[in-house]
Symmetry: C2
Subunit: 343 residues, 2 copies
DNA sequence: CTGAAAGCGCTTACAG
DNA sequence: CTGAAAGCGCTTACAG
């Protein structure tokens, strides 16, 4: 077993409480004593036993709040699984995690949830935000006025004073999609369509720019059509796909940044083009896996959903428990590529 | 905070020790008392506080041994990182992890390491084995005679009584590589070469079979050359590549199951074919990432190295600490696909 | 079969 | 500024 504060206390001729005060920088210790204790701790190679610490601190009851939106979507359900894993770890250590699930995207509800959490005496919040000036202001107020640290995840909040962001690097996601799509048509070239969700969604736009950039720079034989927007709606996606196939019978590939694959696949099937067209989809969500196995989707470029729920909670827990700050402001999750063989 | 054994004890009118005996099936409790305590625990929704349990048990000093081979390779170094993360978690909980690093592949050294660990009173072993009858027998002896559970990782030991195996599904790895390589040449077809390490290595052979199966079944326009073996040696790989390029100037792709990419790339460069040939490599190891970024390697199909070190240790820890058995006998790690854009 | 007590390593008021 | 004591939730000999 390792070195304990008891040993250090004995060696230094002080009480365990004093060692604790020194090692945890709680102040109120004479400089000589402070120095002596630190030296002995270093010599003995002291490393705090986290079990003892957590148990001792479990009287404090660290309370972490989590706010998610679009809680009905399958992607967020996967994120929620990560949140729950983290929650049970935190609860095993004597803390509490409160989760507020907001269906759909709703800035007002987010604002109210934040207030409710504050009233319940939460110490930190993991927040899935939406770009909205009032949310940005409230985040800043929480951080500065109430000293409640906030981590954003899944989507970031530009220029807000959140501790850090956990999520995808959407730009690289688009580049990754393009790097694969491009290879498929490197020699023969082709016409490729891009279907996105909303022009206003910055994440999706970044995927599009990454995709466009790589194709334009690396694959001169490929002709990119203008981006079209399906509002994350399957019917819309279906109609758009039909239109693309009609106007561009030469098209060889479709890149989708968002939900709506089912519509695209329906249109492809209707035209008997499901074998011919290379479909690269985004996110490992909904029935994407099935479409992949059926061969309708050729590739999925996804983000680590579970990690996006797990990490924000644990980052806050480590902050409250240890004072440990996250190393990076942007904690990008891995970009995963799935084919029918590695699901 | 949750329900504690103290509350249960009070409610049941017994001591905490008795509650502990009931809830942890330590026996020596009157049936009526046993029943009553269980009922109350259930009603109150008792869930043991793992912190308290771990701290209480930290006097037991759970000791886990880890044996790795080929410790000088970069792949195993990544595995080792996972082992160390697990080790520090276990040590934080009052346990001990002993790691034996064996350079190269050496059955004798493995046998001796196992004996040494037993003498040191280890309670369980995570073992990276090699197919060898003596190791199989020793594993069985440890498990049956000494009651020391063993988890194999990275490579498995066929038909030995190990608790479970953590590692890659090599067959799927080959299939995944083929699914991508195949798409690149779906329309035009091509000649593809396969370079492996040793014909006797079952993992590498499974990669080859998976690759072959998918290409033959799904991509009739692709012609596969016979597998050649480079003995995981760069010079050999270089010579083999030169020979392939000479005999099959029409070749469009090379699939490598093992180490030796540098040799292949040298040969490609020498012939000015580095742009033309699609190179799919295996494992995220050595300077593979650099070759990927330079565009010499087009794709890497890899395995999760860190997880392969982390999981075996944690599986054993959970077993010793909780009696928790692994759910699956084969714990396959994810197959990851990397391009220059998602490293 | 059962209880009382000591212990795991740390934190936290409290008294001085 | 410092120490003694109680406490976190559990486990473990030990005595009976």
């Amino acid at each position: 077993m390792g070195v304990t504060i008891r040993q250090i206390a004995q060696e230094a001729g002080v009480s365990r409480g004093t060692v604790d005060r020194v090692l945890n920088n709680r102040g109120r210790v004479r400089p000589e004593v402070d120095k002596k204790v630190r030296e002995i701790a270093r010599e003995l190679g002291y490393r705090p036993n986290l079990l003892g610490r957590a148990l001792g601190m479990s009287r404090n009851d660290i309370k972490i709040g989590v706010i998610i939106q679009a809680s009905e979507t399958s992607f967020i359900k996967a994120v929620l699984a990560g949140i729950q894993t983290a929650a049970s770890e935190v609860e095993n250590s004597g803390g509490t995690v409160l989760v507020e699930k907001i269906p759909g995207i709703d800035a007002d509800k987010v604002l109210r949830a934040m207030e409710r959490m504050r009233e319940q005496g939460i110490h930190a919040i993991a927040l899935m935000p939406v770009e909205d000036q009032r949310i940005r202001e409230k985040v800043n107020q929480f951080v500065e006025e109430y000293q409640i640290p906030i981590v954003t995840f899944n989507g970031d909040l530009e220029a807000a004073k959140r501790l850090c962001f956990v999520g995808e690097n959407a730009y690289l996601s688009g580049k990754t999609a393009a790097g694969l799509m491009g290879e498929f048509f490197r020699e023969n070239g082709s016409t490729i369509a891009m279907i996105s969700g909303f022009a206003s969604n910055s994440s999706l736009s970044r995927r599009i720019s990454g995709f466009r950039e790589v194709i334009e720079q690396q694959y001169p034989k490929i002709h990119l059509l203008d981006t079209v927007y399906c509002q994350e709606d399957e019917e819309q996606a279906e109609r758009l796909t039909e239109q693309i196939l009609k106007e561009h019978p030469e098209a060889g590939g479709i890149y989708m940044t968002c939900f709506g694959e089912n519509g695209v696949c329906r249109a492809l099937k209707k035209q008997g083009k499901e074998q011919e067209i290379v479909l690269v989809a985004s996110d490992l969500t909904g029935n994407n896996y099935e479409l992949l196995e059926e061969g309708l989707i050729n590739l999925i470029v996804g983000q680590e959903d579970v990690v996006q729920g797990y990490e924000p909670v644990m980052i806050l827990y480590r902050l409250l428990f240890n004072g440990e700050k996250p190393k990076e402001e942007y904690q990008y999750t891995d970009i995963v590529i799935k084919t029918r063989y590695n699901v």
